[in-house]
């Protein structure tokens, strides 16, 4: 039996820079190839907060830095700011 380990990635966009704040957006990437998550495929987030993902066994490996706005651009809105990357390592047969 193969012991190859694959990575599943979950990206959560949160309401504030706090990891336990509310999920406002999400994306999944499945390194096992068994699912193909894509744009606009669900209306409900997989977790209500970043902390809930940790409690379910996802491991956080990256959070967005807090970068002050450039002078003159303080009121402009652009990308979602509070991005958190999680992983699960899954044995793939």
């Amino acid at each position: 039996m193969s012991t190859t380990v694959r990575q599943q990635v979950l990206v959560l966009y949160l309401d504030t820079s706090a990891l336990d704040s509310r999920v406002v957006g999400w994306a999944r990437y499945d390194g096992t190839g068994t699912t193909r998550p894509t744009t606009g495929d669900s209306d409900e987030p997989p977790y209500e907060s970043g902390l809930a993902a940790l409690e379910d066994g996802w491991r956080l490996f990256q959070a967005a830095q807090l970068i002050p706005p450039y002078p003159g651009a303080e009121h402009e809105t652009s990308f979602l700011k509070h991005e958190f990357f999680f992983e699960k390592l899954v044995s793939s047969g």
Binding site: T16, V24, A27, R36, T39, D43, H75, E76, K81
Partner: protein
């Protein structure tokens, strides 16, 4: 056919300013919807950038009849004014069980204009069911400064509109809105015809302003969306106030006193006195 101009009212226009789009459900007659599939199959002639509507779409052509339907013509005139030009039109087709969705994107190049906006018309000749995918639209995303598909990493956002609609529906979208064609998981070919309109007049009070002072206008403009982050959501309202000031010609319009408070500069006024 009615010859009365069907302009938007202020509440509808404010809703467009807040949401970044407006849906006209089932406004295209059944005969035209049936005709559309043949028109699309035959192919549409290309239109040079910046062509006035009457030249882009000759009298009697399908596209001309589409944009002259009273509900469509009235909404377009309310948003971009009379005599817009057309710089792009295209039929988007999604075949059954197509494996991938479009990434979330805004069309064209990042658009920095604050005193003008283009409107994109999307026309759906068939009923669009959930399994057919349809268009994903993110309400309230149009004022964010992002370029084309740089938003492709976001698969789902709370409050997104996974558009399902009756046949003959027309959507009018602000040029900056985040959207994407969803994966078609059905057995039916899906069509969407898109036309982009550029204004040729200042976009100030082009709609029926009789209800401009009704409280419902403010209610539309102060609307939050479930995907807005707490802090950035306030900036969205501020930027919306700025757009409404430009469209309504009312430089004092405000919500929560935010725009007024942060422009209060007594020292600057005194030094100019």
């Amino acid at each position: 056919m009615s010859t009365t101009r069907q302009l938007l009212n202020s509440v509808q226009t404010a809703r467009f300013v807040a949401h970044g789009f407006l849906l006209l459900d089932g406004v295209v007659p059944r005969e035209m919807n049936e005709e559309a599939l043949g028109v699309f199959a035959a192919g549409l002639p290309s239109v040079p950038y910046g062509t006035p509507v009457p030249k882009a779409f000759p009298e009697g052509s399908f596209a001309r009849r589409l944009v002259e339907l009273p509900a469509v013509a009235g909404a377009l005139e309310s948003l971009v004014g009379p005599d817009p030009t057309v710089d792009h039109h295209f039929v988007h087709t999604r075949v059954p069980h197509e494996g991938s969705a479009q990434p979330l994107h805004a069309d064209a190049l990042i658009d920095l204009r604050t005193d003008a906006f283009d409107v994109q018309l999307m026309y759906y000749p068939q009923e669009v069911t959930a399994s057919m995918g349809g268009t994903l639209i993110v309400p309230g995303s149009h004022l964010r400064r992002t370029n084309e598909s740089d938003t492709g990493r976001y698969q789902n956002l709370r409050g997104q509109t996974r558009l399902t609609c009756p046949a003959g529906t027309v959507a009018l979208l602000h040029h900056g809105i985040w959207h994407g064609g969803r994966r078609n998981d059905s057995d039916t070919v899906r069509h969407m015809y898109k036309i982009r309109f550029n204004p040729t007049v200042p976009q100030v009070r082009l709609w029926d302003t009789a209800d401009l002072d009704t409280p419902a206008v403010r209610q539309e403009l102060e609307r939050g969306f479930p995907w807005y982050e707490q802090a950035t959501g306030r900036l969205e309202i501020l930027n919306r106030v700025r757009l409404w000031r430009a469209l309504s010609g009312d430089p004092a319009f405000d919500i929560e006193y935010w725009a007024t408070r942060i422009t209060n500069r007594p020292a600057a006024r005194r030094s100019q006195a």
